[in-house]
Amino acid sequence: MQCRRVLGILILGMTIASAGDVTGKVAFAGTPPKGSPLQMTADPVCKKAHTKPVTGEDVVVNKNGTLRNVIVYVKSGLKGSFTAPKDKLVFDQMGCLYTPHVLSLMVGQELEVRNSDATLHNVHSLSKANPQFNNAQPMKGMKMTKTFAKEETFKVKCEVHPWMGAYIGVFNHPYHAVTGDDGSFTIKGLPAGEYTIEAWHEKYGTKTATVKVDASGKATVDFSYKS
């Protein structure tokens, strides 16, 4: 009995000690598709916001040959339930573009949707598991807060500016990340165990890999997409 208790405490101690980070890069092979320039002539406010021509963000290949805007997340292997982080994420409409173009958050986590443009935008979620919303923000500086109850990745678009589109990934757990301008990602604080990690890109779809996070608390996974 005594032994068992000691063992239990030991195991508990080990699992807490061995939470680790999964890091990696999403590489891109082949010639990146040439992004088509966005025609913003329909709305003068949008046009004025940019001095240089703007290209679509559906495929952004970084200078180091990596792919931006890929959501990397734990697909399976997690146990138990998780509480949503307290910090609010910001989803801005600026220069008639969504920033960020792809974001990921947890079920129940707050998302602040802002309009930083002096023009009408509407945020229309094409969600399936979560109820659709389509809210207008006609004035500069408007804000609203959204939360999502179900896990899914969906598109968000603006009906006024057909080129505006973004993707939001909602997850049941906090273990997800989006690749930035160096194509790398870090999933922090993952308990020791074996996981299936999935990468998702709006155009190129999904890739999966398995990873073992052990007592050392570090693991690396790399993904690669082709044009």
Binding site: N134, N135, A136, M142, E159
Partner: protein, 884 residues
């Protein structure tokens, strides 16, 4: 050897003993009594066990809820509160409390004495007073009695004073004591609040365990008629065993304890008053499963309906209705029956006014060749594997005769093309293909490359002809004529006009004619104009009832060739002929078995017969008994649906008091439904939560045909809708699919109008919308908001031209002649609610508009202003638009 009885007969009657018989029979009687008691109390009362089991199950659920609640309680807070209670209670033994309490007890005793003495003094005073007055009245000396009276009065004052003092002192002690007791109470209340949920569940569990074992029954007097037209009551005791029918906690419990799976239906048919057997059938008063469910009682005519079959009961009251919101299988079953045209040959209650489902055959040679007709008659699914036309399994010779009749009847037709032959020439197939895919042909017609609509609909048959081989069926001249005006060839056609220009129609013809049947055709080599052959065809067509579905020359008034189905559900297996099929004994999953020796097994029951018949209409045919019903190719699911529908075909109807009144509103709605069903509106539009099959083609719902919400009737003006049905105009320029011109007649338009109005709970009223004036006061703020909210970013409000126009929202210049003003307000408040998926965003939240500087930011006021301004746009007369 002489037996006991022989010996006995030799004994004289007077001396014979009967004691053995008495003992034996009384022993039997005793055993019989014991047995019947046992049977009565134990073995025939399974429901008692069920109730005990139910109570235990539910109590266990409450217990586990209590445990859960306990687990979620903050244990630190609980132990703190428990300690607080303990210490508050401990304080009750503190010196101050104890001595105060003791002194209070002493004082209370003293108070009691003082009160008693005070009361005695008062009585003595009363007596002395009487003596004093008496002395005075009798003229005696009253000095001594006066002195006595005064003495008593002094006593009263003394005791009264002492009572007051004591009471005051006690109140002082009470204050001290209360300090201690309230502390205890407060601590206890706090503890109870922490454990509140736990205690609540524990109490519920306890109550459930104590719950009495009793029969629960529902008595419905005057429920239905007996076959002799006498009013009959119904008694249902189902809820005696099915106790958990409304208990949320029993959702996943095993039968008979589980919760009813369709609470939305119970909201309409309350089991407490309506009972269970009106829908589920079975033997209401019985209390053992075998008898209650009726499957162990061979002579019970209405055994329990299991699975989807229970929906058959809807028909008892709702036989007039084709769509019931909470009875999807029933709706689907009726849809299959209607779309398969069963009513063409069979009389079916509630289906008497439906049109024939097949096309008229008056001028068929203008469209197809005799060779094609012959092949079609012989086996329709050979040309079109998903056609609704069943296979009559005609022999070659029979098919030739039928073809001969149809061709000869068609030769006398007066049909001529509207344009000279060859007018179709000069189309571009590629352009035609683009048009074919864009304007909406694919909403109804399947082609080899596009079967989405069929897949989404999920039926084994198509609702419009598949066009994959149509180039080998029709001729181009006819097709051109047909596309330009379908009603020219068939005055009742459901095929709408797509308003194609001549060149567009030529392009579509060019494309459609490329879809050919590459297989070699079966030919025939007999003369079609042989009068004998034509006469034989005439006879065959009448015998097989072709006129049930098609208009055929000379046979317009043929009756229905087969049996009436209105009471078919009452038929017995004993009345059915199972031909040469073998019986499947196991009554279970296996419905139909094709044996290795070429024979077929079905269950020799009513259900088995129907399954076999619908699977293969000629299944029960024998050498002696010929059958004429053609062979349908229903899927297993469809067979079961149609069978469920046939179960519903009985004349058992509850008395009107137990039915929902089929009032004018429902009649209006149903009338429109049938029009919408005839024209397949649901292929494109979501209507009553069903349909929109073509939407699967679009990436986003807003790019396909819009849904028709329940509020449609409240949305558009009747005059406008009438004009739109007559001649559809473009409302949503971004849609490539076109609302076709269905060439509805006035009656059909009226029915559709009433349908939409009925769903929106509105009546048809003639209202002069042109005279509805915008509210002048609201025009200016309305215009200001219209600008701030940038409505014009999407909505034009005047003539439009140039690039980008195709991506615009409805032109608001149409609003005042198209929309009802009240609807505009509702739409502005929450567009997604009225039309899920719409591109129109919501501007108002929590009673506030985005711009707080106008009309105090009040949503209702701002909406009123915007509505006013929108209403003023495009009005030719009336108040001028606020100056620009």
């Amino acid at each position: 050897m002489t037996s006991y009885f022989d010996k006995r007969t030799q004994t004289p009657v007077e001396t014979r003993k009967y004691v053995h018989f008495y003992v034996a029979f009384s022993g039997l009687l005793f055993l019989g009594t014991v047995w019947s008691l046992w049977d009565e109390v134990v073995s025939r009362r399974p429901w008692k066990d069920y109730q005990t089991e139910y109570n235990d199950l539910l109590a266990a659920k409450y217990d586990s809820l209590a445990l859960d609640a306990q687990a979620s309680v903050d244990s630190a807070a609980v132990s703190q509160a428990t300690e607080a209670v303990a210490s508050a209670r401990a304080a009750l033994s503190a010196e101050e409390y104890v001595t105060t309490n003791e002194r209070k007890t002493d004082l209370l005793e003293e108070l009691e004495i003082a009160t008693r003495e005070w009361r005695f003094a008062r009585s003595r005073s009363d007596a002395a007073y009487y003596q004093y007055k008496k002395d005075l009245a009798e003229g005696k000396d009253a000095t001594s009695s006066k002195a006595e009276l005064d003495g008593h009065d002094a006593d009263i004052a003394k005791w009264f004073e002492s009572r007051n003092n004591l009471e005051r002192e006690i109140a002082g002690f009470d204050l001290i004591l209360e300090k201690y007791t309230t502390a205890v109470q407060k601590a206890e209340v706090e503890l109870r609040a922490l454990l509140g949920a736990v205690a609540g569940y524990q109490a519920k569990a306890e109550k459930q365990r104590q719950s009495p074992i009793a029969i629960h029954q529902v008595v419905k007097n005057d429920y239905e008629f007996t076959p002799f037209q006498e009013v009959k009551a119904r008694v249902d005791r189902c809820q005696t065993c099915h106790l958990g029918w409304r208990e949320e906690l029993m959702t996943d419990a095993p039968q008979p304890h589980s919760k009813h799976p369709a609470p939305e239906l119970l909201a309409q048919h309350n089991p407490e008053t309506f009972g269970c057997t009106p829908c589920h059938r079975g033997q209401g008063p019985a209390l053992t499963p075998g008898f209650a469910h009726g499957d162990e009682d061979h002579y019970w005519e209405t055994p329990l309906l299991r699975g989807n079959d229970v929906y058959a009961s809807c028909n008892g009251c709702h036989y007039n209705e084709t769509r019931l919101k909470f009875a999807k299988p029933y709706v689907k079953a009726k849809q299959v029956v209607i779309e398969s045209g069963c009513y063409g040959c069979h009389e079916i209650k509630g289906f008497s006014d439906l049109p024939k489902i097949g096309p008229p055959l008056y001028s068929i040679t203008a469209k197809a060749t005799p060779e094609w007709i012959y092949r079609w008659v012989r086996n329709p699914r050979d040309y079109s594997p998903h056609t609704r036309m069943p296979n009559f399994r005609f022999s070659d010779e029979q098919a030739e005769a039928v073809t001969a009749y149809l061709v000869s009847a068609s030769r006398t037709s007066e049909f001529t093309l509207e344009r000279p032959r060859g007018s179709y020439a000069g189309g571009s197939p590629s352009e035609g293909k683009r048009l074919f895919e864009a304007v909406g042909c694919q909403a109804c017609h399947v082609t080899a490359g596009f079967t989405t609509v069929r897949d989404v609909r999920g039926t084994s048959y198509d609702i419009a002809p598949e066009l994959s081989r149509v180039g080998s069926k029709v001729n181009a001249d006819w097709l051109f004529d047909w596309l330009k005006n379908p009603r020219h060839y068939n005055a009742d056609s459901r095929m709408p006009s797509l308003r194609l220009s001549d060149q567009e129609a030529r392009n579509v013809v060019a494309y459609v004619m490329t879809m050919k049947d590459e297989r070699a055709l079966d030919k025939f080599s007999v003369a079609l104009d042989d009068p004998d052959r034509i006469a034989r065809g005439d006879k065959l067509i009448r015998e097989y009832g072709c006129a049930g579905c098609h208009l055929i020359k000379g046979m317009e008034n043929e009756g229905k060739v087969s049996v009436e189905l209105s009471d078919f559900g009452r038929k017995k297996a004993e009345q059915m002929d199972f031909g040469d099929t073998k019986p499947i004994q196991a009554h279970g999953e296996q419905e139909y078995l094709a044996n290795d020796d070429g024979t077929v097994s079905v269950q020799h029951t009513w259900r088995g017969w129907i399954y076999g018949k619908l699977k293969n209409a000629r299944l029960f045919q024998t050498e002696r008994i010929a059958q004429k019903m053609p062979v349908f190719e229903f899927s297993d699911e469809e067979i079961k649906l149609v069978r469920m529908f046939l179960i519903s075909m009985t004349r058992d109807i509850p008395l009107p008091a137990h039915q929902r009144a089929y009032d004018k509103r429902f009649q209006d709605i149903e009338g429109g439904r049938r029009v919408s069903m005839r024209y397949n509106c649901q292929q494109c539009h979501i209507l009553e939560d069903e349909g929109g099959y073509v939407l699967a083609k679009y990436e986003e719902a807003a790019l396909g045909p819009p849904p028709i919400p329940e509020t449609q009737g409240a949305k558009v003006q009747e005059q406008w809708l009438h004009a739109f049905f007559k001649n559809p105009t473009t409302i949503r320029p971004w849609l490539k699919i076109r609302m076709p011109t269905f060439q509805f007649n006035e009656e059909e338009i009226g029915k559709l109008q009433k349908y939409f109005l009925g769903m929106a709970h509105q009546d048809m009223v003639i209202r002069d919308y042109a005279s509805v004036q915008p509210e002048t006061d609201y025009l200016r703020p309305g215009r200001q908001l219209f600008d701030t909210y940038q409505c014009a970013k999407c909505h034009p409000s005047g003539p439009v031209s140039g690039e980008g126009a195709a991506d615009l929202a409805p032109n608001l210049a149409m609003a005042s002649s198209r929309l009802k003003p009240e609807w505009i307000s509702g739409w502005l408040l929450d567009p997604q609610r009225l039309q899920p998926g719409t591109r129109m965003p919501q501007f108002f939240f929590d009673g506030q508009g985005p711009d707080e500087s106008v009309l105090n930011g009040d949503a209702n006021e701002q909406i009123r202003a915007l509505q006013t301004y929108v209403w003023s746009l495009g009005r030719r007369s009336g108040t001028p638009i606020a100056d620009r």
